[in-house]
Symmetry: D2
Subunit: 361 residues, 4 copies
């Protein structure tokens, strides 16, 4: 009898419909279908492996995920340490703060009359609405808080930890910033100047001369030193954007000073951008290997899907499958309340890189 080709080893297994399946059972049955369904199921599998391994897990988030109803999923991932470090756009932190302060976003329509919305001072994010007046209140609240800080540069990591603390003390409500504050999980926001958090900081200068100094270059140093201190890492990217590159850049920068760093060991990205226009958001995980952002043998998967579909399912599945793994996981321990942070008791400076390599003579 004729031998099967080496290419024809594992058959596609058609998805069998059944009532009452839990999210993880659905994903399990999607592991042997094709295209993005298979990829989403693979993401579930790889995230489990990350948590079993001893890696620092970075989570990047871009896109209007907080306004769009996913902020408590991210808070859940932080609180339960599915992830160890968040890199976010400013907008996601701002819309999180908006709701943690007791305000809401609203169901709207992409076909709304934008002139009418403008008249009523309603801001639209595709199919979601919010009150501009409440946003102005947030900006002011951030400005007031920023004006109370010491007149010295703060990395976004330090500032956001303090902001999270203030938010928790004021509101006692769950959210991304408050969860990260309470769980001592660092948040970096490299593009803070391109967000309403940044606008709030800029308005602090109107209240107090010299207020609102943010040391984003210190964030670069700090994030690289984090990896130098603990070289095995993983990357979970939601939506691309600046967080995706910042997480990769930290690894590349760290490797420059330490041979023990060799790119992320695991990588998941859930994006809607595509590779063929050359932009970083859509770039493939294979391309990332050419740069050394990813280890050559990294377990990896790229899922082409809207995060508002993929993440609720993935998080629901993980919440069922990973609690035993989380229970025995040794996550890195941070202190975040000072100008310089620590990881597992060791300092993580932001004023110089911790060189591990012997200097070339």
């Amino acid at each position: 009898m004729k031998k099967k080709s080496r290419f024809l080893q594992t058959p596609v297994e058609p998805f069998a419909v059944e009532g009452g399946l839990t999210a993880d059972q659905v994903l399990l049955r999607m592991e042997r279908i094709s295209f993005q369904g298979r990829n989403l199921a693979t993401a579930h599998r790889i995230w489990q492996k990350m948590l079993e391994d001893d890696v620092t897990i970075f989570l990047g988030m871009a896109g209007a995920l907080s306004a769009g109803g996913l902020r408590l999923i991210v808070a859940h991932l932080i609180t339960n340490r599915y992830v160890d470090c968040l890199v976010s756009t400013g907008a996601n932190l701002y819309h999180d703060l908006h709701e943690t302060r007791g305000q809401r976003h609203y169901l709207g329509s992409p076909h709304a009359d934008d002139a009418a919305l403008a008249d009523e001072r309603i801001d639209r994010v595709y199919d979601t609405f919010a009150s501009e007046e409440e946003f102005i209140g947030n900006d002011n609240w951030i400005a007031d808080f920023a004006a109370t800080l010491e007149s010295r540069p703060h990395t976004t990591r330090e500032f956001l930890h303090l902001l999270g603390g203030h938010l928790w003390n004021t509101t006692g409500r769950d959210g991304i910033l408050t969860a990260a504050y309470r769980a001592n999980v660092p948040i970096f926001c490299p593009a803070i100047a391109d967000s309403s958090i940044g606008m709030g900081l800029s308005q602090a200068r109107q209240k107090k001369p010299g207020a609102g100094f943010i040391d984003v270059i210190g964030d670069i140093v700090e994030s690289a030193n984090l990896i130098i201190r603990r070289p095995r890492t993983a990357s979970v990217v939601l939506g691309g954007g600046t967080p995706k590159n910042f997480i990769n850049q930290a690894s590349v920068q760290a490797e420059y000073y330490s041979d023990q760093v060799g790119g992320h060991r695991f990588a998941i990205q859930i994006v809607t951008d595509v590779p063929h226009f050359g932009g970083a958001s859509g770039s493939s995980l294979e391309e990332a290997q050419s740069w050394g952002k990813l280890a050559s043998d990294a377990a990896r998967v790229s899922v082409q899907a809207d995060v508002t579909i993929a993440l609720p399912i993935l998080a629901s599945a993980l919440a069922t499958t990973v609690p035993p793994i989380l229970a025995r996981r040794k996550a890195p321990v941070f202190t975040l309340a000072s100008r310089a942070m620590t990881i597992d008791g060791r300092s993580v400076p932001n004023d110089h890189f911790e060189e591990v390599n012997e200097p070339a003579v």
Copy 2:
């Protein structure tokens, strides 16, 4: 106190993560988030409403769904009468037949070496492989069967019913064609000439002069008469393509001959194409209203997602939520084994349209 804007009525409700949620519970929690997640949850809700109402439900399928592991979902939808009439590309029926005949598709990689695959005669569909030799066997099998048919034109609807019957008698296995045969659900395939089913039919002419005559224009007449006979309809479209337009065209054509037809009452589409390039696959359901393809008050939702992600979740949720509705649903009853089909005991001709309207004097 200030009144809320009329635009700010229903707040976004952040998705709350919990272990053990079933697919339908996940979708329920996605109804008040944003973007495509909300849309997928809305699709679940609208499908339920369709089944509660008294409508003929058309299902369109395009894209490599059968090769990609979704054929048993479609079979399930047919067998349990979540849908009443299938419009498909030829490829989906062909890859269904391939597996029903006991052959498989295989997990592959989009990064495979296509020259090496060609050398081993392996055909690739993105990340999925299959044996060209087995495909040639299928073509031949179809040609042999087609050569046994009466030497007269067959609509695709009649041909595919006979093909499904032959497949069921030969294999006794589940699949789309066999499920439709057993459930007496009609299948139309307007672009049959652009598929391997068509290639098989063309090869029948090599075996028997005059074989392989397909009356695709008869399919147009028949599908419109179906709607004239039973004017309330719904449309579920997976992936766009020719099935999407064929289902809409049937409604428009029917309305030409009957004032009782007024466009689909419900519409769900799950597509990855976008409206702004002008193609039919990505066209919006709003645009469909300008053509009268959709009733002006139709419940409708467009989900921008890969069907291999959206359908397993949606079908799993429906399998939990709709059995009681299905139990009391009165689906239309077809007879399909002849040149002319019937619906609910009334003839559905393919040689002329059943005019209901009074001729204008």
Copy 3:
């Protein structure tokens, strides 16, 4: 001095802006930039090579190109024999006929109120409007013509040639159908049943019993025999859809009967669909090689762009660069007015495949 890596051979040459550049000069300067700009420039280069070589050039067109203002470009490509055979969706031929009959499409907006449009019986194609009443007139015109034909099956190729002739005789106006009629260029329309051309044909049955019989399976046989007769081919695909696959299927089917066929020697596709959802429209030209649709050494390029941007530029450039090549090109010569067509004086049957291979004993 250190040697450059083998990967770093040809530098990107930044595009230098200059006033007065012609379209071909712009494309020439785009050959050494990156991403889709480079690909569009490469398409220009490959089309030139096709025309220099001795190949039958198939042009596939899908998407609303005729309604969108590109029909006279396609007519130009046909008249001047940049291409030898057109495979089209029915819609593109229908909207061509609409304008050739002296009616127009109109500039509209994607934000139009579709209910208001429906009230005025205006049909919308994204940002383009047309009169439904005029469309009904077209359907009737097609039905009347179809009712005059002999009561026997016609391939779409034969029917469309006759339709083009009737249109030319009636209107004397330029367009795709009339240009193809006058230049004796065959047009195939495998999904004719999914279009208003098909609807017109179906209405012919209301006028004359037995009218409107289209032999789409004959089109498969005929298109494959075309390639068996003249095995060197090229493929230019605009927008994917059924034409893309039909052109490829003809090559695969031809190869089954003739070893001299070895896949297209050149391939250009301009598409907006992407490979990663598994659909045929977005499938890569590399994948096509695994199926043997494309020769392993074929010059090929895939351009990710809207055809309404890419084609006006590409055609304008070609109109400047290729006239000398066209002048010496020996294009295949067809006769199309009968049930069976000929190419270069040899018959191209639609009732059986011309087997060239020795039958295996």
Copy 4:
């Protein structure tokens, strides 16, 4: 005779092919076709109107445009004052600096073996390659320069002007940074921390304690004050990303302090992202109106296209059509070499907003 519908006013005018057409003539003929072709032609028309009007024109650029061969187009737009202020990602400035320093990017393939590239330390950007070693040299060069600066915070605007000056003095070569330096056009880089420019700045701290302090919050203040000083503005966005939002945020922030600001009067965006996933890059210009980012009567167009296709054509057309307009245009005049910039002789502070509105009592 029946009156035409109000919706059917301006017919689509099919594109007429002709040899020898210049880029602007091609775009002129695209103004009355449909879909993205029409939009690109409209962008040409709107850019002309912007230049005729008295507005400050912001140009945003994201995506790998410099690596991809478009940097000299952007330099041309700056030098000839098609634009007045650039907002860029760090990567575009970095890859510009890379070439201005005499190094190159190289034509590569998206199908390259990334492990082999990693072995040779070649970094891939889709179909484009570059030497990692040269990149390390750039980082070092930037670090060395940054270490020579005064030990005080610099806005990105000030830093990039100084960097451009140093680059010009060192190389005498054209590029984005050097063109902006020579033309006194300000560059903002809100996400500088997410780029290799930022990495170079971070390495300056290794060379000199306290080096590399960037005041990104100052950039927010400065950009808003620019608009307060000169409230009529226009926005041209290439590729979305942080520049798109930063330009809009400047307008919103400015309006908070000055009633004379009312959103951009003109807006062009060329993007590949789509609105329906909720991200800022793909958000529509209509949505921007709800936020007041855009005047309600702003001339605007969104082009869905890869910038590497759209910009070479658009810039070539403009280079033919706008020189007379540029000759009489009164562009704003900046001084940029100090901690605080000026516009038209008036100071543009970064330590407080210039309030124009009467304080509410």
